[in-house]
Amino acid sequence: MGESPEALVNLLVRERVLAVKKKDVMDVTPLSDSELALALKGGDEGAFEELVRRHQGRVYAVAYRLTGNREDALDIAQESFVKAYRKIHAWQPHGGFLAWLLRLTTNQAIDTLRRRKRQRHDRLADDRHGEEGDRYVVVSTAVDSAREVWAHEIGERVRAALTVLSKTQRTVFVLRHYEGLQLSEIADEIGCTVGSVKVHLFRALKKLQKQLGDLHEVQSER
């Protein structure tokens, strides 16, 4: 009986990982993301470290754009890698590893935003029974220059607008707009056709236009 295609791919990757390791135990950089992810599936922690090194900047950037807060972004980025490690068995080689990882990051960031919002509501509700005001409400990192204040305001508006999108629309928008992934890579990741990705993207942009239609006018006034 012949091997399944996936088993063959795994076998080839394992051989390649071994070949690279024979030359230099620590050097796994020449491997592609998919090869590293498959090696990680096989329990190779060196592959995981290389994936973290390779993508931590992009994962952090996505988390930062979605939360606008440095500490949250660091926390989300770390948690995303932890989830990637723990859920690597669920990753399928036909989709790109980066797109999968960024989707985990996006979901993690949205969960964090929701939790923060819930905490805010809880605390504001508690305020009605107390005298303290909202001094404990979580606020974003302090900003000091006028330029930073303006960038912060735009960021807050965009983040608020992103919460209006559906999960799929948000994932498609984040992967295309911020990460510059190909539509075909996004299609592989979310398991649909390129045509559907275009439609999701269109709907996402329409919703954002509704929320942020005046943004370019305000920007040009400044």
Binding site: V25, L40, K41, G43, E45, E49, V52, Q56, G57, Y60, A61, V62, R65, R70, E71, D72, L74, D75, A77, Q78, E79, F81, V82, Y85, R86, I88, H89, Q119, D122, R123, D126, D127, G130, E131, E132, G133, R135, Y136, V138, A151, I154, G155, V158, R176, H177, Y178, L183, K198, V199, L201, F202, L205, K206, L208, Q209, L212, G213, L215, H216, Q219
Partner: protein, 344 residues
């Protein structure tokens, strides 16, 4: 082409993702349809107005990520989904129940109601934050613990518990989150604003010195030490390499202690100074890297001199260090010898 069919093309065109054929068909449609033309222009304006830049990451996330993984005792799960599903559903149920319970009882944060209760009981609000942070730490939610302390200290810097909260905040940043830039600032703030608490904590003093030194090279030495500590494959050799790269530094000194610990195992923690010295000497004898050997001589000399009051043995060790080819270590050896001379 009908307008409805052009929608996807409009989105793709905004990002320049159309094929040549799609582009031609799209342009043909736009030429005869002002509505779609306006739509395309409006969506282009929206995307142009949404900035894509984000601040660069200023650290390596690996150490903190490994720590989280270790704490959650995570391993890649390879159970077939069909078998895992019932167990997973039950686990989700348990998590939900715990989550609701925790939210109702423990994780209310340091909010006004708690603060009000705190006042009634004459417990300071920062003390309240400290208690919350300890609970959060037990549940491995270090980021929220850090944030809780930060907010409370900023709000009540003169509170009686603020110094202790600042020390805990720095400790969480350093040892749990591995956020070294924040940890440096936190220990610095502790020293500046709460000098008595800082001075009474040898660990805080050591960590600030270590961070101040590592900061000059963007904390690379600390990250290298973390990587060596995580190593499951020949940790001893990895620690030797760290000393080889950063001889004479606080990080090298910590790596030397770790090498001795690798030799002696758990016994070193239980034993006294002489066990520690034995382990250090054994580690030195096992070393292959000559720079690491001399670093361990330096550490052994410090133990003889500062902890065992044996200047003769300390001189022997420092003599080896002074003869080293490494100028940093040789200088430290001479300084240490001068300390003995001054005392005598």
């Amino acid at each position: 082409m009908r307008c409805r069919k052009v929608r996807g093309l409009i989105a793709a065109s905004v990002y320049g993702d159309l094929t040549r054929e799609e582009q031609a068909a799209f342009e043909g449609h736009l030429a005869s349809c002002p509505a779609c033309r306006n739509e395309a222009a409006a969506l282009s304006r929206v995307t142009a107005a949404i900035p894509v830049e984000a601040p660069p990451l200023d650290r390596d996330l690996l150490p903190a990520t490994w720590r989280r993984l270790r704490e959650s005792q995570a391993e890649p799960i390879r159970i077939p989904w069909r078998l895992a599903a019932p167990a997973g559903a039950f686990a989700v149920f348990l998590v939900l129940v715990s989550y609701v319970a925790i939210n109702r009882s423990e994780f209310k944060g340091v909010h006004p109601r708690n603060a009000a209760v705190a006042r009634e009981d004459e417990i300071s609000p920062v003390q309240c934050a400290l208690d919350e942070a300890q609970k959060l730490r037990q549940h491995h939610d270090y980021t929220t613990a850090y944030r809780t302390l930060k907010q409370a200290i900023e709000e009540y810097p003169d509170d009686a518990a603020a110094a202790e909260a600042q020390r805990l905040r720095a400790d969480i940043a350093f040892s749990l989150l591995k956020w070294y830039p924040e940890a440096y600032e936190d220990y610095d703030l502790l020293a500046d604003r709460y000098p008595a608490v800082f001075a009474s904590s040898a660990e805080s003093i050591h960590r600030r010195d270590l961070l101040a030194e590592a900061r000059e090279k963007d904390y690379a030495s600390l990250h290298a030490l973390d990587a060596a500590r995580r190593s499951t494959d020949n940790k001893f050799a990895q620690l030797e390499n760290v000393i080889g790269r950063y001889p004479g530094t606080f990080v090298a000194s910590s790596a030397a202690e770790d090498m001795a610990r690798v030799i002696a195992g758990e016994d070193m923690e239980k034993g006294g100074v002489s066990e520690r010295l034995d382990a250090m000497v054994h580690a030195r004898d096992k070393c292959r890297n000559t720079i690491a050997k001399r670093q361990l001589d330096l550490e052994a000399g410090h133990i003889y001199h500062r902890e065992m009051n044996d200047p003769a043995k300390a001189r022997e060790c420092y003599g080896q260090v002074i003869a080293s080819d490494n100028s940093v270590l040789a200088r430290l050896g001479r300084q240490s010898l001068a300390e003995i001379d001054a005392r005598e």
